[in-house]
Symmetry: C2
Subunit: 249 residues, 2 copies
DNA sequence: CGTGCATTTGATGCCACTCAAGGGGAGTGG
DNA sequence: CCACTCCCCTTGAGTGGCATCAAATGCACG
């Protein structure tokens, strides 16, 4: 664990937490929440910081409260693939396994709500509502990973970029229970390099395709890390998907 | 559901089931097993048959007892990506969701141990040992999907083929709690086309790379669907991985 | 105003795709 | 027993999309 990760005291009450109804605690009643409250603490990371290295012991589990992190895998010759995006409400860590399987890096400034491992695992055993929610979230993550398989295996560079923007827009909108539509802005809390790692491309190709999409009016750039999408439908079209994104869940 | 899927009566006892200690029922005590036994029935599919189409209602959940199936996703223009391999002991279907998210096809002759949805979901609520095992298996699947992301995003065609063979060899060996080593044989219950769908390649590329690996002595072919691997270590080397495959779990 | 980093843009090459033709084995029917 | 067919697989030639190598640009910060 990096020494410079700021550890904050437990002080934010769960009640007005921005991820209260989407995170692992979503289904909890107030007394279960009290138990969680007792074992939680906050940690803050800066963009670029590594939270754990693959293979390291990890003595806490956590929910992402704000910001973004990436799970990364590597081949020994250095080729890198991001294998998971952690956005607000996503869960970090695996109960029952102390060794981290992936390197986790903050791609933007990040706030985690952490739970000490042992007490959390105990809660998991005693609280079906938490265990059930975790299963639900894990199944959703599996679905997301499978969509990503389709992207990596079969989509063109252009479609990959468009798909990433669609996903980020949908996740951002989901937090406020809306569906993206019309003209929208999308935060891009990633460097071009991180985008490339996520999309299975090189950073040059990412840059070129971003330029192409901009040239053709599919997107507009507001700085490097903010994208304006004049027509969300057009973007979805470019992503190669037919579906409308399914239920709001 | 295809009309020609053979439905067999419940007759096989769970006790000497080949997947008794790896499937969703792995942790069950005998009385829990009795409950499962009461809601289970067997179904047999032939190679090539589709078990469910994406979007169809699915009124059962199941464990793969023998054979192999694939989860498949498609873009509207027909590009196809397999997003999951179901091998013996793997679980099929998602509790709490009746609509299948993916098309499921038997890639070889297949035997499923099916559970009616409603009673199974009830058991899941009342039996932490089953729910816990399902969470564990889902997390494992997520790990497998993430390894697959690395493969699709960053590996060469040659490495992809080698990786697939490594995975099949490991899964085959895991059923008998061994670790593949030295000279081994690997069953390949897939057409070249299905391999291509899984690896994000074309069938021509699969065929060419198989030929290349054969030419160079990494593999020998015994018919089209059986591969002899003279040196498993060599194969792992070709797959681009460094690791030894982790614990036997 | 210089330094450093992220990003963009350009030139070239290669790996895997596409299109096309041919081979081999299993099953069927004469 | 052989001819025919179908399906799966192999092999070949040519192309194109993305990677690689290289250099320039923009922007933040001291």
């Amino acid at each position: 664990m990096p020494a410079d990760a700021a550890i904050l005291a437990t002080q934010q009450p769960c009640n007005n937490c921005p991820i209260r109804y989407r995170a692992v605690c979503a289904h909890c009643e107030s007394e279960e929440l009290d138990e969680l409250e007792g074992i939680k603490f906050y940690r803050r990371y800066e963009a670029g910081q590594t939270i754990v290295w693959a293979g390291d012991r990890m003595d806490f589990l956590a929910s992402v409260v704000a910001g973004m992190a990436g799970l990364t895998q590597q081949l020994e010759d250095g080729r890198t693939q991001m294998v998971g995006l952690l956005l607000p409400s996503d869960f970090l860590g695996r109960p029952g396994r102390e060794q981290a399987a992936y390197t986790v890096t903050a791609t933007s400034d990040l706030l985690l709500c952490c739970f000490r491992r042992k007490p959390f695992e105990e809660l998991l055993r005693s609280t079906p509502r938490i265990a059930g929610r975790l299963l639900e979230m894990t199944l959703d993550e599996l679905d997301a990973a499978r969509d990503w398989l389709l992207l990596l295996g079969r989509k063109s560079a252009r479609e990959k970029i468009a798909s990433l923007l669609v996903i980020l827009a949908r996740r951002e909108a989901a937090l406020i229970k809306r569906r993206p539509q019309g003209r929208i802005a999308v935060e891009l809390p990633l460097t071009r390099d991180a985008m490339a790692d996520y999309l299975g491309l090189t950073l040059e190709t990412v840059s070129r395709q971003m330029s192409a999409l901009k040239r053709e009016g599919v997107i507009e750039l507001d700085g490097k890390r903010r994208v304006i999408v004049p027509s969300f439908d057009r973007l979805v079209l470019e992503s190669g998907e037919d579906s409308d994104g399914g239920p709001l869940s």
